[in-house]
Point group: C2
Amino acid sequence: MAESFRLSATEAQAKINGGSLTVEDYAKSLLSRIEQRDSAVHAWAYLDHDLVLQRARELDNIPREQRGPLHGIPIGIKDVILTKDMPTQYNSPLYENQAPKIDAGCVATLRHSGALIFGKTTTTEFAATTVGPPYNGIKTANPHDPTRTPGGSSSGSGAAVGDLQIPISLGTQTGGSTIRPGSFNGIYALKPTWNSISREGLKIYSLIFDTLGLYARSVDDLKLLLDVFKVVDDEPGEEFKVKGAKFALLKLPTPEWPELGSGTKDALKKGAELLRAHGAEVEEIELPEEFKTMPKCHTRVQAGDGRVSFLSDYLRAKDQLDPLLIQHVENTNKFTRKEQLQAFDALAAMRPKIDALADQYAAIIVPSVLDEAPVGQQSTGDAAYCAPWTAMHVPVVNIPGFKGGNGLPIGLSLLSGRYRDQHLLRVCGEVGKIFEAEGGWTR
Amino acid sequence: MAESFRLSATEAQAKINGGSLTVEDYAKSLLSRIEQRDSAVHAWAYLDHDLVLQRARELDNIPREQRGPLHGIPIGIKDVILTKDMPTQYNSPLYENQAPKIDAGCVATLRHSGALIFGKTTTTEFAATTVGPPYNGIKTANPHDPTRTPGGSSSGSGAAVGDLQIPISLGTQTGGSTIRPGSFNGIYALKPTWNSISREGLKIYSLIFDTLGLYARSVDDLKLLLDVFKVVDDEPGEEFKVKGAKFALLKLPTPEWPELGSGTKDALKKGAELLRAHGAEVEEIELPEEFKTMPKCHTRVQAGDGRVSFLSDYLRAKDQLDPLLIQHVENTNKFTRKEQLQAFDALAAMRPKIDALADQYAAIIVPSVLDEAPVGQQSTGDAAYCAPWTAMHVPVVNIPGFKGGNGLPIGLSLLSGRYRDQHLLRVCGEVGKIFEAEGGWTR
């Protein structure tokens, strides 16, 4: 029991179903891990030990035949997602101690499926800034090196899963808020196809980009979640083998994208070598010219959407908002609506083309981040390599396994066409085994 | 005071600012109108007289120099929009008496601007069905003929404004849920550009279609709201004159669209004649071939989105959901994800083309509805003529003024390109004067 915090959700569930672990004991193990570790990591915005244990006991009392597919699985919820029994505070003084009695759609689905909604994890302000949380206390730190950022905006969700404090957590992504912490914390992160999981009850930044994100330490755990959320592909599932598969390694050009650090450059090289060594073909491809405006288009649409999304908070208390959000509402960059629409429409036109490109390969490999997690917890890092795929609506998985110059984790992203999430997970299941075993980084 | 319920919001505000009307007296007049009329109309899902009067007195006590732009303006809120001091029940037994303590973004903005958040208006279930509300009581009726439907899904919002029970109300539109009740109840209805007003805290049906809608009995009132929500065009406002302006009258082809009834046919004819008589050019145009799939694409995307949006409610209590919502979640129509994406992308490609078409005219005139409000309150009518423009994201205004074969109101829709909402309101201000004066229907 004592060490059950180390288990993946799937492993823990097997023990719970087999009768060798109770939900309460599992929860106690996690709570004790948190107690031991969270003074260094600070991943939680709200955690009520008594509530957790009460819910755990309730779950243990459910007769076996009435148990849901996530029975007893503890899940951390990013604090921009509504939970009916816990506050949702968005890391904003405007929402301190606010506790609306309503579950987000995704939380309701998880709860109905038997999950143990554990607590709220830290987030940058409204999941919209790159200022490490919280604004009013000791900042969330990278579990693998507390002098560094865990990334953001899903800072606490990434750090808690990376630190074995919770097996699964929810994040969100508008730019790179799920994938970046995935890489920095050495865990699996899935940004599913846009709107394939309900976003009801998630704070809005950009309607057309915001996507619920999922964290775990195994692909099996992510698969468990996708199934509960009924994210299904058109094509039936077929076994995937790396041997004989064809991958693309996509080069993203400067100056549209920032120069990669040596950590990610080495990871890309090594990742390709490993796949080739295991019998796959890895084709290096350049991003076609017509897609080069992706980052610029993402920025413009996000700014135009932020202008709308933060208006009510701005009216209420401008002085308590991050300058970036004020800039959005006041449209400091003087983006016109015409520019915003051009960007919106240009991204829309790119989506089916990226699908078609992705369909030629088992998956496309792209960087997750520039490099290892930077030193300091004030800035959560750069989303440049994630934002385009958020805009494309395609599913993306960060696979951990590599390490940077300072021994910290680095992941690579694999992506597929839209609504091929299950296919992508099957690919990542096999690729992940290789990267984790031979990439050079271990937890 | 006694008759102040007849005032538009702008007229009432002038009296309040001038000191000849208090917010409390205005509220009392509306409450007494409601008391007198609502046993016939049943527009309210929740209304707390004491709360209304308490808030009204609080507003009266605000010093003049601290008053907001909507000071004292009573607004009815469709019961799919969260309000922190009232229940939000979605006309679903699943949410009976549910009262999350949180305001939707739009409600927070209205409240901050001094509006009197009055009560919750009836809606079809989750604003997603065409079954007249409520499910568990006497159904909302058309104020101009209680044997008929007020339309839906914004049934109560449309009926209450049409019946002089409230000057302004909020609706939503995914297909035709704002414009259709606008026409049936003989009022102005504005579906602004998609995502130009925050949709935070509105029940989700389709992310890419759902739009907050606004009801009033004057264009000035709609303008007041657009300004509070900071919906601005790129181009500065210029005075609009009907004389010399050029309109398009858009013919929508069968069988893609259902045959129009004589009420709307006559209104289109008369509307064009009136505009011409006032010196405008009205060009009859056909919908280009490439847009004919709009209705089909709308249906497919909506079904795919409904599959996601209602999953958590379905898991919780399938037996308490409308069959349409069950069909969505179970994907009874067997739409593939590929079909959904093709429709999603096709609509995206049409948007800039519709903008370009609209930019050639002061506005494009289209039907709002098939005909007068149908008899019966069980079905809220057909959204066929509204849904395409929801999918196009363009602003649309229903202008009342015409009447059908049974003397009931019929409106016409005017639309512009995206983010030309203020332009469209200026046009509708002038066109509305003509239609209201000479169209043949008066309240």
